[in-house]
Amino acid sequence: MSAAPLRATAARRVLDGFGNSLRSTSLSARPTNVEELAAVLQQAREEGLNVSFRGNGRSYGDASLNTNQLSIDNRGMTRVLSFDPATGIIDAEVGVTIEDLWRTGLPHGWWPYVVPGTMFPTMGGCTAMNIHGKNCFKAGPFGDHVLDLDLMLADGSIKTLSRTQEPDLFRAVIAGLGLLGAVTRVRLQMKKVESGRLKVRPIQTHSLEEMFDCFVERMPQSDYLVGWIDCFAGGASLGRGLVHQANYLSAKEDPEGRSLLALDAQGLPPSIMGIPRSMMWRFMKPLTNDAGMRFINTVKYHLPEPHDHEGVFYDGHVSFAFLLDFVPGWRNAYGDSGFIQYQLFLPDATARRAMREALELCQRRGVVSYLGVFKRHRPDEFLLSHGLDGWSLALDFAVPAGDPQKLWRATNDLTALVLEAGGTFYPAKDAVVSAEAFARAYGERLSRFLAIKRQLDPQTLFQSDLSRRLLLY
């Protein structure tokens, strides 16, 4: 089977990073099965096109862009191949989303071990980026729960990889940025849950130190821990914020929770403060500037969340997990210049100092993040994983329409700070790090990855704007 000539006949797609600050046109193909995928890869090779993969475009930077080359749309392969309600093992094609996972599993009491802040990423993206969630300190990254996967190589052949079958390649493909081949299928273990909701305890922290201390104290007895930071606060309040500690509930603790596993008991509220969710970003737009966001961060910090006499509230899995999906189109509030996310990953030993310096640096430069998210991570087995025994701070910066250089200067300095602190970068978020900085952060691990890349894909069929920026070939 062969595909039609791509340069002459393929549709063009304008693709953007989720941050809306990078955008380009690619040729697009959407194979619906492995045979079609193999034919598209062969056709691309014959025409000298290189290939990248795209699911729902949730990477913030250029990870799923491939300017003027071929972008394979994973969303043609969206079948759940099997699901066993007894074991919670799900076998899913590359275009299956996190949403598909929980919709399949939850009615039977299975929730994905690792979910990001949005339910739209596909198995392809989750695998390529080895995504993490609010429970990273405990459950590790996405890859930890992958049992095996199928990888189509540049020549169209398929390898099944697992911890026992070509384990080195398995550990390179997960977090491998889609550069070693096309993942076509992923088999995952899900997590047993007995209630459709979580017990959530909101905790106000008055400074960055307190936030760290709160995590250290609560990690042993928490299933999820995520911190929100008001990046505008300075002085003694630098790094102030809120921690959400969440715990699964057993059938004994929450007898009614079982009925909440039903899909119609889950979901997101249709409106927020009386405004339909789909309209919400238009109301956010006038506030998406330094003054507006300083105000919103202050209000959020001081506004107590409704909770019971024990200081907790109960939240469904879906509404706790997918905060980014509450306001569809929220990224549009940043306007046409968009925004970037810069996530600092810092080792435990240097994190307190480096994170403080990062927040101060941003304030000094007048580029303050409108949203700061704080998490604890742990190291994992995957070759190019961003995971480390340490902490992360995710910062969302509006790209200043008039003076983007101001932001790039600040992020350059943040990069220097991360390198000096011995940290890493996360390609799913990144739009700004240089090849040199990335190489310094990943060191010998990167050399090993590139050796595998050169052996498996000597013609460099698999590329992206990100791989060219970071010289990953």
């Binding site: 002459a8 797609r13 304008v14 046109t25 046409d336």
Partner: protein, 249 residues
């Protein structure tokens, strides 16, 4: 707002309005890619443009070969080092004799005037959407306002082109892309040589000047050239069919 164009593709540049647009663009400092079927005419035009000190790339291409279009487009953009204006000026006209019915000749006009325009403006629109800038200009015609008995295929093709450009405008103007539909009346070119009635005819350099002025305004519009045709179009558009069909136009 007044846009300044520095890199333009003109499809249908070997003669008529397209050639004159290329000349005037080059005169104001724009590099041009000249696309057309006739090599000799394109070469002569390129030599003339070179005198202005601008780059003129010659590309022979038949707009009905739509599978070649994306590749030719990409190559030209690369040679120009980017693109801020694409003009689709390719067009053919067939006036059937009374009692003669020639489907091939009728369809040919759809292929050149409308399908070719879709093939060329699509990759340009995709590129401009990503860049959040750029101008697409199509030469339609006042003839697209009504289906006329003496040029059925031509009027149908121009109606299709006008609607296509309107749809493009509605699709990309929100991204800062400027889509201009130009509806000239009679312009003194080879194409109108054989027509018998040519009211309000204007010279080609005047037409090109008015067209570029409309493009530079950057306000995504549909314009009549000269503007007096607007009134004619209004009258034609609202004329009841039972009267219109009795007219010999």
């Amino acid at each position: 707002m007044s846009l300044r164009f520095t890199r333009a593709i003109i499809v249908g540049a070997s003669s008529g309005i397209g050639a004159e647009l290329a000349r005037q663009l080059a005169a104001e400092g724009c590099d041009v890619a000249l696309v057309g079927r006739r090599r000799a005419e394109l070469d002569a035009l390129a030599a003339e443009i070179a005198k202005h000190g601008r780059k003129a790339i010659v590309q022979t291409h038949d707009v009905t070969q739509v599978d070649e279009t994306p590749l030719v487009f990409e190559r030209l953009v690369e040679q120009l080092g980017g693109l801020d204006l694409i003009i689709y000026a390719a067009g053919v006209i067939h006036v059937p004799e009374e009692g003669v019915w020639d489907a091939r000749a009728e369809m040919q006009q759809l292929q050149v005037n409308a399908v070719g325009a879709i093939a060329w403006t699509t990759p340009a629109a995709a590129m401009f959407e990503a860049k959040r800038a750029g101008t697409i200009l199509g030469l339609s015609s006042i003839a697209g306002e009504r289906g006329r008995r003496n040029m059925p295929g031509y009027t149908a093709s121009k109606a299709a082109l006008t609607t296509w450009l309107e749809a493009l405008r509605n699709r990309v103007s929100r991204y800062g892309v400027n889509v201009v539909t130009v509806k000239p009346g009679f312009v003194d070119t080879d194409m109108t040589k054989h027509l018998t009635k040519k009211p309000m005819m204007i010279p080609v350099n005047t037409a090109a000047r008015l067209i570029l002025a409309a493009a530079r305004r950057g306000d995504s519009a549909s314009v009549f050239v000269p503007f007096q045709w607007w009134l004619v179009a209004m009258v034609l558009r609202h004329m009841p069919s039972f009267i219109f069909r009795r007219l010999d136009i």
